[in-house]
Amino acid sequence: MFVPPANLVAILASRLTGSPLPEGITALSAGVVWNLRIARVLLAFLAGAALAASGAVMQSVLRNPLASAYTLGVSSGASLGAGLVMLAGVSIPIAGAFALPFAGFASSLLAMAIVMGISRAIDPRLDNDTIILAGMVFSLFVSAILTLLSALSGQEMSRLMYWQMGSFALRGWEAVAVLAPVLACALAALMALSRELDILTFGEDEAASIGVPVRAVKPALVAVASALAGCTIAFTGVIGFLDLAVPHAVRQVFGPSHRRVIPFSALAGGTLMVVADLIARTMIPPLDLPVGAVTAILGAPFFAWVFFRSRRGRA
């Protein structure tokens, strides 16, 4: 359904000021614009911002350019949690609209805890490369469980599969209302810890000797980053690579200091996600492609590039 730009402005103005709709604009197109499209764009922006900020933190804290919610198993953990809630149709009385994000949030933290537990068992010094490796193994395992669940769930299968690939369709204002405050709080916390983030990129021994209480700050940062990714994924499904790519690009442009990296990653991540969603929505009309497919097609080559560059850097 095409809504001319002039009508779009009129619909927005009418919604925001409370004035009646002008002649010639149907209530249907007003509803489509407000309830579906505006909400969808806002949600895409919030999700992109949250994922990119989360990726920036993971990369810095684990000192690994390939760290992200996706590679650490947080994404698949969150999607398994949210998928179980979807399948079971669990309705937690008080939680209501919050059941899905809460499941995502809780299972992302659980996933991170499991990955950290495995890493600690393998390597008591908790080397960052061990964490990444454990995350990838965990991620593959959990994805397999989710695939198995989809296969066994019969008619729910296509819904679950589609959701797993990430989409902003049919989420609406409810998701925006939950994600916006979560993102605001998390960004405030990350900005408050931006100097600790800077120092942690030099290594944990150095950070401790410079005066950062590493044993408290590092888990807090990982928890905030996991929660950001987990909440987002619970609403939108798994959208990979954006959280990995955006912080790298932002550091190239604005330098590595986190008081710039955090806000600009959020801004750039949000903008990019809106563009990716636009592509997903309009590339092959009338198909609404999963946005995760678009970010993966654009992001996977980037991932390879970062990987090979960092390998060459080390050699």
Binding site: R63, P65, I199, G203, G211, V212, V214, G255
Partner: protein
């Protein structure tokens, strides 16, 4: 010439994790102001672990007393147990130059040295550095000969320059004790001696001290006015550098006649 006690370890024990064996196996020593202490020993003897524990990067058992400097009067006051001090407070007493220090983000030299002011300056992450901070980092960069590199990116520096930048960061912390973990590794001869001379100058005032971990025994001999020889997480010998290097214990610990082999290495010069 040595002054008051800066650090006192009593029956210090360190392990990597709760059910892991002790890597530091109950060692005791005292560090006084004005001292340059070298810690030597074969691979795996626990010397780097000791330094990491002193820097607050590892938990320990036993006792590690640190003399606290009063910020106002810059007088040395009470002695406090390291683990009971806040990490920031402890960072005003000890600064670390770790081995293979690296960063893979493109910070500039000045940004890097400024991070050393974390425990000193304002607590607000968004505040710009104050005058005391700017003066301290300029002084530290000048002392380490990296002032003219201040806007350079870390990724463009040589190993020797990088090591001096990280030393400047530790000095900008204004600690009373510098901890150097094999500071001359991967440096060529000129930078090795430059770095040693720098640490000597820094300690020379008489109210600060340096602990250096060394693989290179002649360099330890050149640097230290006291040496601790470690073996299996314990102190095997300690004392004047010449005495320790010529002693019986060092030959047993390294499994070879150490002093003789150093002499024969240099004989052909």
């Amino acid at each position: 010439m040595t002054g008051g006690v800066l650090i006192e370890a009593k029956d210090l024990r360190v392990a990597y994790g709760k059910r892991m064996p002790d890597v530091i196996n109950g060692i005791s020593f005292t560090l006084r102001a004005g001292e340059r202490l070298a810690v030597i020993g074969p691979n795996g003897c626990g010397k780097t672990t000791l330094l990491r524990a002193l820097a607050g990067a590892l938990p320990y058992r036993g006792s590690l007393l640190v003399t606290v400097t009063d910020a106002e009067s810059s007088r040395r006051g009470k002695r406090r147990e390291r683990r009971k001090m806040g990490q920031r407070e402890a960072a005003r007493e000890t600064g670390l130059l770790s081995q293979l220090s690296s960063g893979w983000f493109a910070y500039t030299v000045r940004e890097t040295v400024l991070l050393g002011r974390y425990a000193r300056g304002s607590r607000s992450p968004l505040a710009s550095p104050g005058r005391a901070d700017t003066e301290a980092i300029d002084r530290a960069m000048a002392e380490c000969g990296v002032l003219e590199l201040s806007d350079e990116l870390l990724s463009r520096l040589s190993g020797g320059q990088l090591q001096r930048v990280f030393l400047a960061r530790a000095i900008a912390q204004e600690p009373s004790t510098l901890l150097l973990d094999e500071p001359t590794n991967h440096l060529d001869l000129k930078y090795q001696h430059g770095l040693i001379a720098l640490a000597e100058r820094w300690t020379a005032g008489g109210d600060r001290a340096t602990i250096g971990v060394f693989h290179d025994l002649p360099l330890a001999l050149r640097f230290a006015d006291r040496i601790i020889l470690m073996d299996g997480g314990e102190i095997a010998d300690s004392g004047y550098p010449r005495d320790v290097l010529n002693g019986k214990e060092i030959d047993r610990v390294y499994g070879m006649p150490v002093a003789d082999s150093i002499r024969s290495l240099l004989q052909n010069l």
